[in-house]
Symmetry: D2
Subunit: 141 residues, 4 copies
């Protein structure tokens, strides 16, 4: 879906996710089968040693994957996460997190997705986590 | 670890997780190999249709599992999530979420954990998600 | 489905899985939402140190979970594995493996399942692995 | 590790996995952080409708990922699968399966891996499954 055409249902949906607002997350870009988000690591979003909480990393990766999947859906359909698996590889330290979701296989009944979350720190990018999971298409309520 | 003895390093650590404070989460109870958390589904923690965001469900389940694992660690050790898998079964709707973590196997190098997250709604409890994953013991910094 | 009534479509389907025959696997029992299999750890099914291969442990756990799911399906429907996650906790050593599958949630579109695989060794039972995943109902071809 | 130098501990280890022999699997190639296997879909390795069993797809993907991880280990060390997640996307139909494993992050304590399994059918290649998981380094016994 072009970001220029006919409004932008991905951005409209994203704007309605209050957790994304609370996280200060933005949708940087999307294209068919792909979506990228960014969010600062806010003071209120940390684990016991001050790194970003795994739940925040998960939320961003899962959401990027979800919008990557939504980008492949026809009008009137959206997606829900059926299941998601995350491997955490580095602490979420730095100025912001970048989450990139992609569709591996868009089936009629299941959409298999992947995501990667990276931390930007002093101009360097470190992979924090990778995710693999399944989105399920549903009719818009 | 008894909750009555020698302070409570689980609750101390939990209190330092700013995300848990932001979520309004409380540690209801813990015992060796088990931990239960609760949190309201706050207005700022939702997905596009007003249910609790999968990232919040994950954060609570992962954290309950992590403290279940920590309850089995000797002094001076803590745990980090290496990987976690969540199956989402129902929307997170209701007054609050209850997350129960348990240790399946506490090895020297890896701790295998499970968690369940339920939503309380009008006096009923609905299972929202189940999680299965791995915590890795680390020395306290 | 009762094992006594009207033939036994679980056992009929199981008998058509040539891998189960090759593994020497048997269906010990099934009841609604539950299925138990057993198989010896054959000489040709091992990893490099002589323990049962993780692929065999997975195959048994996945199959037990699949038949647990099938036990909840109406006539004319069956299930396929959409995704499955395994945590391996002990080497598969001993006389035989026991795999127990159970349904956590049987939805119309997705069936969430769990399984446990144990090894029997000198009269003791050791948990080798736990699995969590998703079966998808499909029409019989 | 070069395949030309000092024997080939990956191939030596692979040759000791009796399951790989039973499956008719071959190691096609390996390089640091990468390994590719192939196996026919043998008559004795099928599910109830004649496609390759998910357990076989898993076994090949897991093993390819394991040898990708082993390729990064120093002498005297090997790896074991701690956990692995598979998303199955298409039935395993065709002449043979190709499994490609790769290392995403080789840590001192954990090695995060991915694999893809494809089926070759009439000259075309279809992705059957993707895997994501964790290998744990251990000392050789």
């Amino acid at each position: 879906m072009s970001e220029q055409m006919g409004g932008d249902r991905l951005r409209d949906s994203f704007a309605r996710q209050s957790l994304m607002t609370t996280l200060g997350a933005q949708m940087l870009s999307h294209s068919p089968g792909r979506c990228q988000l960014a969010a600062p690591i806010l003071p209120g979003m940390r684990q016991q040693h001050g790194a970003g909480h795994a739940g925040v990393t998960f939320a961003l990766g899962d959401t990027a994957a979800g919008y990557a999947a939504l980008s492949m859906m026809p009008e009137g359909r959206e997606v829900m996460t059926a299941e998601m698996k995350i491997n955490l590889m580095s602490p979420a330290l730095g100025e912001r997190l970048l989450a990139t979701g992609e569709v591996v296989r868009a089936g009629r009944r299941l959409v298999v997705v992947r995501a990667e979350v990276a931390a930007e720190r002093a101009g360097e990018r470190v992979t924090v986590a990778i995710l693999q999971g399944t989105m399920i298409p549903v009719d818009l309520p």
